[in-house]
């Protein structure tokens, strides 16, 4: 028998087994409309009490600065923390399997009715709304972040590189990120 690690218990002292990981992440996947970030906090911190608010924020923050999908990264890190590498795989499967099946079902149903003019018109509207969602998400983040002027300048410069100049994503990220890190260090040194 594997000895139970301290970190594989919830705040209530319940063991966080592979089954518990799978069910928890499946719940986040299935209830996560428009992205998983909001529901993930609710499930992890409030409902299943796997970890404290502070611990969760620091794991999510780490998921955000690493490359790749931030929720995917968070899932990998939590799975490993509670149940090792197998935990990562189980958690990720829980998160992805059901939503993928639902998405494919939705796509198949849509394709069957795609030639109907009402469906076409509704899809154009839904497509426009989906683009608006992303703009709204960015604006909401911008409001919550309360950026310092130098960081606001980098946000706007990045926006211009992508949306106006249409420069390739990879180049923009690889140039702007180090510049912004350097500017952050430089501005801190001037303050101190």
């Amino acid at each position: 028998m594997k000895s139970e690690r301290e970190s594989s218990k919830s705040l209530d002292g319940r063991p966080i087994t592979l089954g518990e990981l799978f069910m928890g992440f499946a719940q986040m996947g299935l209830y996560g409309f428009g992205g998983v970030a909001t529901i993930a906090r609710h499930v992890i911190v409030e409902k299943r009490r796997w970890m404290s608010e502070y611990d969760y924020a620091s794991v999510l923050g780490m998921g955000q600065i690493l490359p790749g999908g931030n929720i995917i990264n968070m899932t990998i890190i939590l799975g490993d923390r509670f149940q090792g590498p197998l935990g990562s795989i189980v958690a990720l499967s829980g998160l992805m399997i059901m939503p993928t099946i639902i998405l494919l079902a939705l796509t198949t149903i849509y394709d069957a009715f795609a030639s109907n003019p009402d469906v076409r018109a509704a899809t154009v509207g839904a497509g426009a709304a989906a683009a608006g969602l992303i703009i709204g998400l960015g604006l909401k983040m911008g409001r919550n972040l309360k950026l310092r002027p130098i960081h606001l300048a980098f946000a706007i410069a990045t926006f211009i590189c992508m949306a106006v100049l249409r420069l390739p994503f990879i180049g923009v990220v690889l140039v702007m990120t180090p510049l912004c890190i350097a500017a952050t260090f430089w501005s801190r040194r001037n303050v101190e």
Binding site: G29, L30, F33, V36, M62, G63, Q64, I65, L66, P67, G69, N70, I72, I76, I77, D80, L95, M96, M98, T100, I102, L103, L104, L106, T107, Y110, R120, A121, A122, G125, G127, A128, A129, A130, A131, G132, L133, I134, I135, G136, L137, L139, M141, R143, L147, F154, A155, A157, T158, F159, C161, M162, A163, P168, I170, V173, C180, I181, T184, R188
Partner: protein, 180 residues
């Protein structure tokens, strides 16, 4: 040649994207658009917007737009290739850093570097919405829906599905009235 195989193209494109992307799926969207529409011609602009609406209507990570692109290009093998290519490289990094994190998070330089990332992510996300809207939307009604939906998300904490539903309904009515 092997590199003309759509499965190989999907895997290479999304594997590379996963390694440099910061800010998650919304920030990746312009690059997914560029790969799928501009570089490889897998989708038209309208098809891309349609699939984005489908991906947003289903529950689960926004990341699944990548799975759907793979599905459109090469069915189930395409879906697996695109999804796994986008997950595995970045997950290996996350796994390693996850184990080192406690050591890093006490270092000052790490926290300063970390504070420099949100602005870049923010610029990428807003650009992403604007690029997709510009490519897929035309006419006053279309742009009206974009603004309405952005406002619903930015100003309220409603389920984003409400915005998709409202957009679909306005589109349907406008279509019936002959405005679309």
């Amino acid at each position: 040649m092997w590199s003309d195989d759509p499965i190989v193209k999907l895997a290479l494109a999304f594997g590379a994207l996963s390694l440099v992307s910061v800010g998650g799926a919304p920030a990746m969207m312009p690059e997914i658009h560029r790969l799928a529409v501009v570089v490889n011609g897998w989708h038209t602009n309208a098809e891309f917007a349609r699939d984005m609406a489908l991906a947003q209507s289903a529950p689960g990570p926004n990341f699944m737009m990548i799975s759907l692109v793979g599905w459109r290009v090469a069915g189930f093998p395409g879906l697996m290739a695109a999804t796994l290519a986008a997950i595995i490289p970045s997950s290996i990094i996350a796994f390693i850093v996850g184990r080192l994190y406690t050591r890093f998070s006490q270092k000052d330089w790490f926290n300063v570097a970390r504070s420099a990332l949100p602005p870049i992510v923010l610029g990428l996300i807003v650009a992403s919405g604007v690029v997709t809207a510009g490519a897929a939307v035309s006419g006053a009604i279309g742009f009206g829906i974009v603004i309405l939906s952005a406002a619903i998300v930015a100003l309220t904490s409603r389920n984003p599905l409400v915005a998709i539903g409202a957009g679909a309904l306005i589109g349907l009515i406008a279509g019936r009235l002959g405005f679309l």
